[in-house]
């Protein structure tokens, strides 16, 4: 739980103090301070009142972070200009998050009752649907076509034309999309116990409904959830998230902080990378960076990214467990059964 914010009696006085105070970086914090700061985003957020005076007060409280106190409530309603250079002042990002906060992650499994496994995932405003079909017999054409013949998974990504701001006609031969599909396929291939399914194929079809940054990460998370829903044995969850850095490649400033889970706006302005890890470990399945960044920033970005993946794993695990508990409650599966009888599975509904 976050410590309560320090009450500020005189807004003007603290304002002056703030302008006089040199920037204190979180890197100077002790471990305990950091761990205090590294709370999951699900921690209760005090909603600021709509009263403008209170909001101003809250903003000042947010800026009091510069007095080395990281102990105030995350002020999500504070309006920030689009320019990320203001970040250094309040240490709040464009959407009011702190450096290590994920956006709201909402996920559901078993959304399409007709499919073998399905999921729906939102990371902020990025929305992805995933349907898993299989394992089924490998088609003769598939056997011939793929030179990497041992691949069990077959990943297809379709990005809806309306998913981003500018409408694009989806092209079948977009190399960027096929690279993403390849990445998801190759990462999950090693997580799935492929030896159980010889000569089979599992097709994962991902549909992107809305894009607002962290697209590849969302695809990873949605695919993992759907695979779990389909009952495919995996060694662990493959979870992903993005992390960035507040410095642009040109600026050699030392004051750059790593950021977690970037939205589209931040992705366009800041260097970022996508990390996917296996389970709660520090082992990285996929690491993709497409922007220019100082090599010294990498360590911080990677550490924050791996930490974010752990947070995502907890969230996804909670989704699965809640769903499982609900199914037991509804009698869809008997307690202790590994897999329920086929008929019962089919009849159960949201």
């Amino acid at each position: 739980m976050l410590a309560p914010a320090k009450p500020i009696n005189c807004p003007l006085a603290s304002c002056l103090a703030w302008s006089a105070c040199p920037t204190k970086k979180f890197t100077n914090c002790s471990d305990s301070e950091l761990s205090l700061f590294r709370l999951p985003p699900s921690a209760p957020v005090t909603t600021p009142s709509t009263d403008t005076i209170n909001r101003f007060d809250l903003y000042l409280r947010a800026t009091s972070v510069l007095d080395s106190v990281f102990s105030h409530s995350p002020a999500r309603n504070v309006a920030m200009p689009l320019d990320t250079s203001t970040y250094s002042m309040a240490l709040l990002r464009v959407d009011g998050r702190r450096w290590n906060e994920l956006r709201r992650l909402h996920a559901q499994i078993r959304t399409q009752s007709a499919s073998d496994g399905s999921s729906y995932l939102e990371m902020g405003h990025t929305k992805v649907l995933c349907v898993v079909t299989g394992p089924t017999e490998k088609l003769a054409s598939q056997r011939m076509a793929s030179s990497s013949s041992s691949s069990l998974l077959d990943v297809n990504i379709s990005i809806a034309g309306f998913s981003s701001v500018d409408r694009k006609r989806p092209s079948r031969t977009d190399k960027r999309v096929s690279e993403m599909a390849f990445t998801v396929q190759q990462s999950l291939n090693k997580a799935v116990h492929a030896a159980i399914f010889p000569n089979s194929t599992i097709s994962i079809s991902l549909t992107v409904l809305s894009q607002d940054g962290s697209l590849l990460a969302s695809l990873f998370n949605a695919a993992t959830l759907a695979l779990v829903d389909a009952g495919i044995p995996m060694s662990d969850y493959v979870t992903a998230c993005t992390s960035g850095s507040t410095s642009s490649y040109a600026a050699a400033d030392d004051a750059a902080d790593p950021l977690l889970d970037l939205n589209r706006q931040e992705e366009q302005e800041l260097p970022f990378l996508t990390v996917a890890t296996l389970g709660g470990s520090d082992r990285v399945c996929a690491l993709v960076c497409e922007s220019r960044v100082q090599v010294s920033r990498l360590e911080g970005m990677l550490a924050v990214g791996v930490d974010g993946c752990k947070q995502v794993r907890t969230l996804l695990d909670r989704v699965i467990r809640e769903r499982g508990a609900k199914m037991i409650e509804e009698g869809a599966i008997a307690r202790g059964d590994v897999v329920g009888a086929g008929d019962e599975m089919d009849t159960e509904e949201d």
Partner: protein, 380 residues
């Protein structure tokens, strides 16, 4: 028409003639030796007549692709291929796989290199500007740059056009088909794209001649001549070297008139080059990918459990990182590999700079002589 294009047309016709005389296409070694760019004879010679004709078709297709405009390339190079299933890449045998893996656990690589050792990397330039050939062990890559004046994209009126086109033809391996990009090709072209184009190595704004009306379209064609692993690193060196070696015709703009001068009229100008990124690829082995090898050969690539390509320039800026799946590798090892890559990139960078300088000196014979004479005078 550009000098290079004419030359290529001549080659193209030559190859068409080779194709016409059925049954006896010339051996690839001989083709290479006639070719002014390839002074070293090819190490690969297909054994059967059938594969030779495939080879010839591949060559013909490559050169025919030069003659097309870049944007129409994909739609127009529809060649009626015989409806047969292309043979797959011969897979490495189980015994050989086991041998490789066991040797690695005893810290031995099959070619006797250290784990963090590159194969010998050599770089050569053609007679023409903008042609570079890279050899990394047995991997050979040829990159050729060409430029033409076109209309810029409507949404980017102030930018020129810059594209990198990769070709993996059947002459590398029968598994590659023309017009059907394989996974390898897509990944290679994406990596080059991200490394060189997205990182802003070439200042595309400098290619603009008249906003919204005329600009240079610079195109790099990457041809893989032989594949013995680590295509990405070799191709990246080839692309960067070729672009830095390239000279585009000088131009002048008067009102609405753009004049393009020939090399005889005005000295061609180099491209506006901002930084030189190079790729370094690590391959991982072992259950948890705990062993990291630099510059894997083709055989080693067949056994790897994951690969990690990082692109850097000598200023220590990461331009691109790609670990696209595979076994999960410890994050700390990835950071170590990146640190190792920075050292390697500095070495490659120095090598390329030196070769470019040597080539510039070779071309500037008159200037060099003048310099020497001046020095002698001072000494005497």
């Amino acid at each position: 028409m550009e000098k290079g294009t004419v030359e290529l047309q001549v080659w193209h016709q030559k190859f068409l003639r080779y194709l016409a005389c059925e049954g006896s296409p010339p051996a690839p070694g001989r083709i290479s030796s006639r070719d002014p760019l390839h002074d070293k004879s090819s190490s690969h010679s297909p054994s059967s007549g059938a594969s030779q004709s495939w080879f010839a078709i591949g060559i013909a297709l490559i050169f025919s692709s030069f003659l097309k405009s870049p944007d129409k390339l994909n739609s127009e190079t529809q060649i009626p291929l015989p409806a047969v299933n292309m043979p797959r890449e011969a897979e490495i045998s189980t015994n050989e796989k086991q041998f490789l893996k066991t040797a690695l656990t005893e810290n031995v690589r099959i070619d006797g290199r250290l784990f963090e050792q590159y194969r010998p990397l050599s770089l050569g330039f053609g007679e023409e500007f903008g042609v570079a050939e890279v050899e990394l062990g047995k991997t050979r890559i040829l990159a050729k740059v060409s430029a033409e004046v076109t209309v810029p994209y409507a949404d980017r009126p102030f930018d020129g056009i810059f594209q990198i086109v990769t070709e993996l033809s059947p002459m590398v391996s029968p598994a590659f088909e023309v017009n059907r990009p394989t996974e390898t090709e897509v990944l290679l072209s994406r990596l080059l794209e991200k490394t060189v184009r997205r990182s802003g190595a070439l200042d595309t704004e400098s290619l603009c001649l008249m906003a919204g009306k005329k600009c240079w379209a610079v195109r790099v064609d990457v041809h893989v001549l032989s594949h013995d692993g680590n295509l990405v690193d070799a191709a990246c060196v080839a692309v960067v070297a070729a672009l830095r070696h390239f000279r585009k015709p000088d131009t002048s703009v008067e009102g609405e008139m753009v004049t393009v001068y020939t090399a005889a009229e005005r000295e061609p100008t180099p491209l506006s080059w901002l930084h030189s990124p190079y790729c370094v690829t690590w391959s991982f082995y072992g259950e948890e990918g705990e062993m990291a090898l630099l510059d894997a050969s083709w055989k080693e690539e067949q056994v790897q459990v994951a690969s990690f390509t990082v692109s850097l320039n000598r200023h220590g800026e990461v331009c691109q990182i790609a670990k696209l799946g595979g076994v999960a590798v410890d994050a700390v090892l990835l950071l170590k590999c990146t640190a190792g890559a920075t050292v390697e990139v500095k070495r490659i960078s120095e090598m390329v700079d030196q070769k470019l300088e040597e080539d510039a000196k070779r071309r500037d014979k008159g200037g060099l002589m003048a310099e020497l004479r001046a020095e002698n005078e001072r000494e005497s």
